[in-house]
Amino acid sequence: MAAAPAPAAPAWTPDEPIIRVTDVHKSFGSFEVLKGMSMDVRKGEAICIIGPSGSGKSTLIRCMNALVDITKGSITVENQEVNDPNLDKLKLRRKVGMVFQQYNLFPHKTALQNVMMAPINVLKQDKKEVEERARKLIAKVRLTGKENSYPGELSGGQQQRVAIARSLAMRPDIMLFDEVTAALDPETVKEVLVTIRELAEEGMTCILVTHEMKFARDVADHIYFTDKGVIVEHAPPEEFFDNPKDERTKTFLGQIL
C-alpha cells in the first residue's frame, strides 16, 4: 500500500497553543519513561520543567523536536503532528531550536562558522547574508571578538552561548533548553542565563529543563514539576514555589531550596 500523503495540518493561529502535548507515553524497552504527560505551551511563553533526575523531563523536550520518537499520544507544533511517520523533520527543526547540556558545538569549526553552518548547508541560504546575521547573533550573546575562536579555545559558558546563537541562526519559533547550565561552573551559569532571559523577554517561546530554581521563578510564566514519568503539578511560579500542593513537590522543593 502506498503511503498516503499526510493530510495538511489545519493552519495554526497564534491564539492556539504553539505546542500541544497530549497524553504522551515513551518507553525505552520495557522501561516506561513518560507515563502520559500533557501540556499546552502558548506563543511567547517561557516554560520551566523541573523535577528529580530520571523523571522524564529531558526525554519530554527531546520528543518535541523528534529527536526521540514517542510510543503513544500526540505532540503538535503549530498544529503539525510530530508523531507522524511522514513528518518532514527539517520543517519541524526549523521551527524548534535546541540547546544541549554539553553544548555539542562542532569542534572543527570556529564560533562564527558554527553559527553559519546550518543556514548555509541545510537551508541553502546566501553565505554573505548568513554571515552578517551570524555576526549579529555572536554580538547578541556577547561574544564579539571570539568569532574566529575554536570551541576548544572557549570556556564552557562561552561555548554554550555560541550554541544558543547557532540555534537562533535557524530563526526558530521555539527554543528548547535541555539543562543548559548543568555542566557550567556557578560564575558562568549567570552569563548563559542572562542570554536566555533576554530571549524570553523578547517574546521567544522557551521551554527549559532546569535546576536553576531562582531563574525559573524570575523568568518562567509557568512551571511544570515532573516525577517518575508524570507531571505532578503545574502552576505559575509564585504559586508553585510559595504554595506547592502535592507532597512530592513539597519534598523536592524542601530538598533543594
Binding site: 529527536l67 527539517l90 535546541m98 555539542n104 562542532f106 569542534p107 548547508n121 541545510v122 576548544g152 535557524m170
Partner: protein, 259 residues
C-alpha cells in the same frame, strides 16, 4: 668498459666517474636506455600509488558510510568485502583478478586486429590495489567515525541535518582528523604493495630494476638503489601526510597544536 658520454650530460659523467674510480656500475646514470627504464619505473610506481590511493580513499569513505546503513544486507556486503580483502594476501588478490577474473571477461580487438583482454595488467593492478587498501581504509574510517560522539550528531540532527549531511559536514571532517595517523600507515603500505604489480609484468620500479640488473649484471648495486628509492618515495609520502595532518589540526581538539 666503454663509458664515453657527451660533456653536457652531468649525470652520465658522474656515473662514468663512479664506474671508473670505484667499479660501481650505475647504468641508470650513464646508460641512457637504463636511465629511461628506471625513471619510467619510478613514474609507474607513483602512478599506481596515486591512483590506487585515490580510489582506496573513496572506497573507504563510501564503505564506512554504508557500514552504518539501516539495511542489514548492505552492512553484510561491506563486512564480507572487508573479510575477503583483509584475510587474503595482496599478491593472491592480484593473481585472482589478472589470471582469474580477467580470463572470464570477453576480449576486445585492438587496432591491428589482435584479441586483447578487456583490461590491461596496469588497470588490474590499480583495481586490485584499490580494493586491498580500500578494505583497510573502511575499517580505519570506521574507527574515526565511531570516535565522533553521538551528542555531536544529535546536535546536527536538531539543526535539521540529514544523515548524509551530518556525515559530510560534521562526522567525516572530525573522523578524518582522528584516523589520520592510521590512514598514514595504510597509505605507506599501499605504496610499498605496488611492487607486487611486478608479478603481472607491470613495468613499475621493481620490474624496471630487475630488467636493468639482468642486462647490466649489477645486482647488488641495483638492490641498494632500489631500496633507497623506496625509502625516498615513502619519505615524500610521509612528509606530505604529516603536512596534511598539521594543516588539519584544530586548536583545543585532540592533538591540535594550534594555527
Amino acid at each position: 668498459m666503454a663509458c664515453d658520454v657527451a660533456p653536457p650530460d652531468v649525470i652520465a659523467a658522474a656515473g662514468c666517474w663512479i664506474l671508473d674510480h670505484t667499479g660501481v656500475n650505475l647504468t641508470i646514470l650513464h646508460d641512457e636506455f637504463d636511465r629511461r627504464r628506471f625513471v619510467s619505473g619510478i613514474g609507474m610506481t607513483i602512478w599506481l600509488s596515486v591512483v590506487s590511493l585515490f580510489f582506496s580513499l573513496i572506497i573507504g569513505v563510501v564503505g564506512a558510510w554504508a557500514q552504518g546503513s539501516d539495511y542489514k544486507w548492505i552492512r553484510r556486503l561491506i563486512n564480507g568485502f572487508i573479510v575477503v580483502f583483509r584475510n587474503t594476501p595482496p599478491l593472491v588478490q592480484i593473481f585472482f583478478f589478472y589470471f582469474g577474473i580477467s580470463t572470464l571477461l570477453p576480449s576486445v580487438e585492438d587496432d591491428v586486429g589482435m584479441r586483447q583482454p578487456l583490461f590491461s595488467n596496469i588497470q588490474w593492478a590499480i583495481f586490485s590495489l584499490s580494493l586491498f587498501a580500500g578494505a583497510f581504509n573502511i575499517e580505519i574510517f570506521r574507527s574515526g567515525i565511531e570516535a565522533v560522539p553521538n551528542s555531536t550528531k544529535e546536535a546536527a540532527a536538531a539543526l535539521g541535518y540529514t544523515r548524509l549531511g551530518t556525515y559530510l559536514h560534521i562526522v567525516l571532517p572530525l573522523a578524518i582528523r582522528v584516523c589520520l595517523p592510521a590512514l598514514n600507515n595504510n597509505l605507506v603500505n599501499l605504496l610499498k604493495t605496488t611492487s607486487l604489480a611486478y608479478a603481472i609484468a607491470v613495468p613499475e620500479l621493481l620490474y624496471a630494476s630487475k630488467n636493468i640488473w639482468t642486462d647490466a649484471q649489477n645486482v647488488p648495486t641495483m638492490m641498494v638503489v632500489l631500496l633507497l628509492t623506496y625509502v625516498a618515495l615513502v619519505g615524500v609520502l610521509v612528509w606530505a601526510m604529516n603536512a596534511w595532518e598539521r594543516s588539519m589540526a584544530i586548536p583545543g581538539f585532540g592533538q591540535g597544536r594550534g594555527r
